[in-house]
């Protein structure tokens, strides 16, 4: 088992490691290791928090503009404030279900620094007045489950969790639980359904915003693993130092999983907004260039659900608002690079197949539509496409996510806009997400589809590419 490349360049002090400082500390996952390493003693932030009022902790997190790292980039402090006053109990749910294709960071945080996550979860629980914390890990990650279980056992033993934490009135339980294989359970309301022992099908928002009506219909704060892992550093170093990293609108860092056709794929902690995609792909510090000296064809800036970007967008910074303004999203910090040897139809089919397989089946446009999208793409790839197929494909897509509407950036580039953020005829954004690869690929590489339909192209039929529907 080879180890994951993580950015462990100690000499480079210009970028502080907010969440990944213990990734290369051999025993960083133990209480002992956690206490000894890092810029502050382990659980120093919790001690500090316990001398503050819960309201002051929330205010501090709000002032820091700690944006959610699970995909939607909603400010954590603001979300915490949505718990309706006087309604008890409240719960904290930690979303460790990481399964957006291309995304690989929460697993590292859970395996290599579980105490940082636990400390962050306790801080959130204190700030909102939670009765209990549920740490929901993806089912297929037993190593993360083990590491967290061991860390929780140590923390209970050390009186950092449980009754009268560190001799104060603050008491809260943290319970580890996990899923059993379903991408959709990463969606917060589906996660709550799963935690209630049900099929992981999303609830309609409104009215079921978790902060108001979440677990057992009680106020529930769902936060991503990386979001909460930022809290110990933020509380130790303060708002000013936190805000000195990144940009005004998006302070702090992000863990970016850089995968696909680059020389040095890896998980890198980068300051938000000050690094460009070009730097990420080409610099020696990060990607080290496109693999084998090839040219960049396209890239996904934020996970399978994000519309694709193209070479003219490599000079954009990794900043949520900028990427959003260009019609895509930074999403879950998953950057997938595709070089000029990539078959756009094949890549598109693989992404669409993911959504078809993972649709929970609750809404018709998604359940039926994603399967149709997959079937049509499969037959195009297999050389069985019909001339009307592209229109049919776009029509099916339009039923799931009506569009397009114009976006300035696309108009300038003489491209029609991809409807983003997607409009939806569905309960959750999964169905509409399947449209992103389709519209991205067709608008840019229509000729590749047409060549296949007109059978000018060689036809790579692989058994792996065969539809399972």
């Amino acid at each position: 088992m080879s180890d994951t490349a993580v950015d462990t360049d100690e000499a480079d002090q210009d970028v502080p490691k907010v969440v990944s400082s213990r990734f290369d500390v051999a025993d960083g996952h133990t209480l002992d290791g956690y206490t000894r390493s890092g810029s502050f003693e382990g659980y120093a932030a919790l001690r500090r928090v316990l001398t503050m009022t819960p309201g002051a902790v929330s205010e501090l997190v709000k002032d820091a503009t700690l944006l959610g790292r699970g995909g939607a980039a909603f400010p954590a402090g603001v979300k915490w404030g949505f718990c309706p006053p006087g309604v008890w109990p409240r719960y904290v749910v930690v979303n460790g279900d990481e399964s957006e294709p291309g995304t690989y960071k929460d697993r590292l945080l859970m395996e290599r620094d579980p105490h940082q996550l636990i400390e962050g979860s306790l801080i959130a629980a204190y700030a909102i007045g939670a009765a209990q914390v549920f740490l929901y890990v993806r089912g297929e990650m037993p190593h993360a489950q083990e590491r967290i279980a061991a860390a929780l056992n140590e923390a209970y033993e050390a009186n950092l969790i449980g009754k009268n934490i560190l001799g104060t009135d603050f008491s809260v339980d943290v319970v580890l639980t996990w899923g059993a294989g379903a991408y959709i359970v990463g969606e917060e309301t589906a996660l709550i359904e799963s935690l209630e022992g049900n099929r992981g099908m999303p609830r309609l928002k409104p009215p079921f915003f978790p902060a108001a009506k979440g677990l057992y219909m009680m106020p529930t704060i769902v936060n991503n693993v990386e979001t909460l892992s930022n809290l110990p550093w933020l509380l130790n170093h303060g708002v000013a130092e936190y805000r000195s990293i990144g940009t005004e609108a998006s302070p702090g860092t992000r863990l970016i999983a850089l995968s696909g056709d680059v020389e040095r794929p890896g998980v890198y902690e980068v300051p938000q907004g000050t690094t460009t995609f070009r730097e990420l792909f080409e610099s020696e510090r990060y990607g080290g260039g496109i693999r084998g000296g090839h040219e960049l064809k396209m890239f996904i800036p934020g996970g399978a659900s994000a519309p694709w970007f193209f070479p003219e967008q490599v000079d954009l910074p990794l900043e949520g608002r900028v990427v959003g303004g260009e019609g895509s999203m930074l999403g879950s910090g998953a950057v997938v690079v595709m070089d000029d040897t990539t078959d756009a139809v094949r890549a598109c089919l693989r992404l669409v197949r993911f959504f078809a397989r993972e649709s929970c089946g609750k809404c018709t446009p998604c359940r039926e539509g994603t399967v149709w999208e997959e079937k049509i793409l499969q037959r195009i790839l297999d050389g069985q496409g019909r001339p009307s197929d592209l229109d049919l494909l776009l029509d099916v897509a339009d039923n799931i996510s009506p569009g397009p509407y114009p976006l300035a950036a696309y108009a300038e580039a003489d491209l029609e806009a991809i409807p983003f953020p997607p409009r939806q005829t569905t309960i959750c954004p999964l169905g509409p997400s399947s449209v992103a690869p389709i519209t991205s690929a067709i608008r840019r590489f229509r000729h590749e589809f047409e060549d296949k339909i007109n059978r000018k192209d060689s036809i790579p039929v692989t058994s792996a590419g065969m539809s399972n529907v």
Binding site: G129, G162, K163, W178, G200, V336, S463, A464
Partner: protein, 208 residues
């Protein structure tokens, strides 16, 4: 063998006690039964239903939503090859084809000797280590066709039996949370505003 052993029954009761409502333990109990038997049997689901106050159909209804639960015996080792985008770009689909060839089965089936079940799976969060393979959910990174052959050999010879448990077992370490450690886990209807939380979300003073 399908009912929980006395030890596992004890464990099941402890797990249930960690949740404000028993039904929240459904998935964890299904995992426990699958750990014991290698798959999730009808008898196990019926017993889980008794334990949490649900019907067997409700437990099946939940369990059947989740891919990890196998309603029939599977191979000792589930070999999952990721073919999603990052792995596809670096040969995940070709690796799956290779696997089908050397194992002599199609994805989704089990070898005759009951050793292996092969599946092509969605992203397993190892995208920078593509192509990625999981065996009973343990990771193998950057797997080449030759590396895959060696992996199968090591699994067959028992070389990896220490690091890779039989199908069903996930983490070796469990959370240890018994009666006297629990601070306050009760049904939501019995919960009130925490004593340490200042009234009306105001700034009344710290926890101490």
């Amino acid at each position: 063998m399908a009912r929980l052993t006395p030890d596992n029954l004890l464990l099941a009761r402890k797990i249930i006690a960690r949740f404000p409502k028993p039904r929240s333990a459904t998935i964890m109990l299904c995992h426990l039964a699958q750990e014991q038997d290698g798959y999730l049997s009808e008898e196990a689901m019926a017993q889980i239903a008794e334990l949490i106050g649900a019907t067997p159909a409700e437990v099946l209804g939940t369990a059947s939503f989740y891919e990890m639960f196998k309603m029939h015996p599977v191979g000792k080792y589930c070999v999952n090859v990721c073919t999603n985008i990052s792995c596809q770009l670096l040969g995940g689909e070709e690796l799956l084809e290779h696997a089908e060839e050397v194992m002599g089965i199609r994805s989704g089936s089990t070898t005759e000797d009951g050793m292996f079940t092969l599946e092509d799976v969605e992203c397993v969060a190892a995208c920078t280590e593509a192509p990625a393979v999981q065996v009973n959910y343990r990771y193998f990174n950057k797997v080449s066709p030759e590396g895959f052959d060696e992996l199968l050999e090591d699994l067959r010879s028992g070389e990896l039996s220490r690091t890779i448990p039989p199908h069903g077992t996930l983490g070796y370490v469990r959370q240890d949370l018994d009666g006297d450690r629990i601070a306050n886990i009760t049904p939501p209807s019995q919960q009130v505003e925490p004593v340490w939380f200042p009234d009306g979300d105001s700034d009344e003073g710290p926890a101490k």
